[in-house]
Amino acid sequence: MISFITNFASAIESLAKIHRLLPWVIAYILLLFLPNLITATFGEYYVDLANRCCLFILLAVGLNIVKGFCGQVTVGHIGLYAIGAVTSALLAQNYGLPFWLSAPLAILVTCCAGLVVGLPSVRLEGAYLALATLGLGESVRIMIAVTPALGSSTGIMMIPAPTIGDYVIESFDHYFYLVMTAAIIGIYFSFVILNSSTGRAFKAIREDVIAASVSGINVPFYKLLAFVISAIYAGLAGALFAHMPPGYLHHNNFTVIEMVTLLLMVVLGGIGNIWGGVVGAIVVTVIYDQTKDYYFYQPLIFGITMVFLVVFMPRGIGGVIEQAIVKRKFIEKHEEQNLGTS
């Protein structure tokens, strides 16, 4: 398995040497056929599941930027997701804006909210920051729940699906192209950020705030930037969720349970590991779906998984694979050296 992943990674690296976008374009083209493959192999419903996976990938990758790259403990990400969803839904419903306008505006509003959620991070750290962001996230949900203009208890109904001209994007497979494109772009930009000077500043803050500050990094600025970038992902995911047929939002979709599930995705995949976040989102969504019949034991299974992960696999699936690849490369290099000396 590890050798397969190693070979796969080196194949992608060689493609990237031709052009850095080539692996992404190839992946995108291959994914265009996924709905047909899924429908033929598993059935139409699993395209809907794939759509939900893509939404969670966006959320998990976004959360990884602030939590994994920058090391800020946030539990308010679900609140940003809610803001993106409700804003886009209301703009589309009350002002008749098409998805292509309401979604960017929702992202803009979520960015501002991200800035507010990030403000405590300037002064707070660890558990205190977690509590502050949890409070902010939950207050968003409560505000939606008690404000009739935001859907209140009945929710926001009949949110229009995205359209291109007269064509309505409402079937599972057509919506897949929309959410998959968003997910691919999200993952790509996550790598771009990670490999840029901004990404390095984030990592420096994660490793040691004082050392980063001494090195000339504007710590408050980069902390806030991490929250804002992560809010872009949450806002986009929220807008896509709101307009996904049947186009219905309710404040119950944004509770602490959803936030914990999102954290599980990131922890399972590996904090700070982009592909780990992707894998975590897919694994959790699929396992949740496949264990629906065992609803009685589901919370127990998820709770125990979280505890075991933190104890035995703190770096998640991504971390374990990364470690195995490094170990393998080390052994190979060692063997080559041994052969050379003998």
Binding site: D48, S152, S153, T154, M158, P245, P246, G247, H250
Partner: protein, 400 residues
């Protein structure tokens, strides 16, 4: 290369296993999505499954077994929609039952309308469910618009017009609260004396109760889910509001945890519901005993009776449907079941009144039970007792 072969083989095997679970011919597939998170919620779902099991044991429907799949939607719309999609597109159900919560039933109505699958609702009361104009939806419980009408009539004529409202943020309670205020205004010209919007699981009502006490109201309507309502009722007495101020419950006041948690505070609380366990009809007595024996419930609430009535209506409809039950006849079978449910007239079960449906996609046709019953608690605690205050047949277009 070997890895790819293994991967593709695994994919094909997985696909075979998954696809084998769906599309089995010669059985009637029924999908159920309900709120299976509370003790009572699980028992409602279990009752539906048990009753279907009994139908199967008795030979099924015209020789066909019913395959029921029950899923938990946790009272969350996204989970409910995912369940509905899975049941419709993967399990390829002929009929969808659900959901418990109005906020879940509301979006599922759009899913079933688009996929053209008959949906029958066991518990959700929000009026808008049948006002969406779907030709595929049927509601067994009494709609919130009827509850408000009968409550407001009784309150205005027997209690007074100065009413305070405590409205929790869940869809059903909010709907009950809004509808009651609208009915008090239209029937008696009365504006609310006090309105408090509270969280779905609010724990502290003391500030509101003090304000209500100083407002000198005739009655307090507490529209909330069971546990929240109980807390509000207890705290209303702790705040010193006397028994001369009548407490009015929303439809969830009928849920068994309310008298159990509230104890003496529930005495005198009245509410509109679809079933009274104080019903003296033989069918009701048998039902009460059955629920007690099977689920250990001292007195079943109307969510139990509605789940039971729903299965009886489904049984009647399925027996009257000409089903082919082949893979190619799925759409025709779904239409046949829808038409058969629409043809159910004057079903006399446990419900407070006869349940009738018709073909038009209107609330008049699809809100089956139009007879709310007004019930008051005589005694709280584990061995609670109720009495019927009134039974009112409402005009079918009331509240529209």
């Amino acid at each position: 290369m070997r890895n790819w072969t293994k991967f593709l083989a695994g994919l094909a095997a997985g696909g075979f296993v998954l696809s084998a679970t769906a599309a089995l011919a010669d059985e009637i597939r029924v999908g159920i999505t309900m709120r299976m998170v509370s003790e009572n919620g699980q028992k409602y779902g279990q009752m539906v499954m048990d009753e279907i099991g009994l139908i199967n044991e008795a030979g099924g429907i015209n020789g066909h077994q019913i395959k029921a799949t029950l899923m938990n939607d946790e009272c969350k719309s996204d989970k409910g929609v995912a369940n509905a999609n899975k049941l419709i597109f993967q399990e390829k159900v002929h009929l969808l039952i659900g959901s418990t919560c109005s906020s879940v039933s509301l979006p599922i109505v759009d899913v079933t309308a688009k996929a053209q699958v008959p949906q029958i609702i066991p518990h959700s009361t929000n009026s808008q469910i049948t006002q969406k104009g779907s030709a595929w939806v049927f509601r067994v419980p009494v709609s919130g618009r009827f509850y408000a009408g009968v409550n407001a009539k009784y309150v205005g004529e027997n209690i007074g017009k100065k009413i305070a409202y405590i409205c929790a943020a869940d869809a059903a309670s909010q709907n009950d609260c809004d509808a009651m205020q609208a009915q008090m205004k239209s029937q008696h010209g009365a504006d609310p004396a006090y309105v408090a919007q509270v969280q779905e699981k609010e724990v502290d009502f003391r500030t509101h109760m003090q304000k209500i006490k100083s407002a000198g109201v005739d009655g307090i309507m507490v529209a909330a889910l069971a546990e929240t309502m109980s807390r509000a009722l207890i705290q209303s007495y702790e705040a010193g509001i006397g028994t001369d101020v009548r407490r009015i419950g929303s439809s969830s006041a009928s849920n068994a945890p309310v008298p159990k948690i509230s104890g003496d505070a529930v005495k005198g609380v009245f509410y509109a519901a679809a079933y009274s366990n104080a019903d003296t009809r033989p069918i009701a007595k048998l039902f009460n005993q059955m629920v007690k024996d099977r689920y250990g419930i001292h007195a079943p609430d109307h969510d139990f009776s509605q789940a039971y009535d729903l299965i009886r209506i489904v049984e009647i409809a399925l027996n009257n449907s000409d089903l082919k039950l082949t893979n190619s006849s799925l759409a025709a079978d779904r239409t046949a079941i829808r038409d058969a449910i629409a043809n159910v007239k004057n079903y006399q079960g446990l419900a407070s009144g006869p349940i009738s449906f018709c073909a038009a996609a209107t609330p008049q046709c699809r809100d089956g039970n139009k007879t709310p019953v007004l019930i008051a608690y005589k005694k709280g605690g584990e061995a609670f007792e109720t009495e019927v205050l009134a039974r009112v047949n409402m005009p079918e277009d009331f509240g529209l």
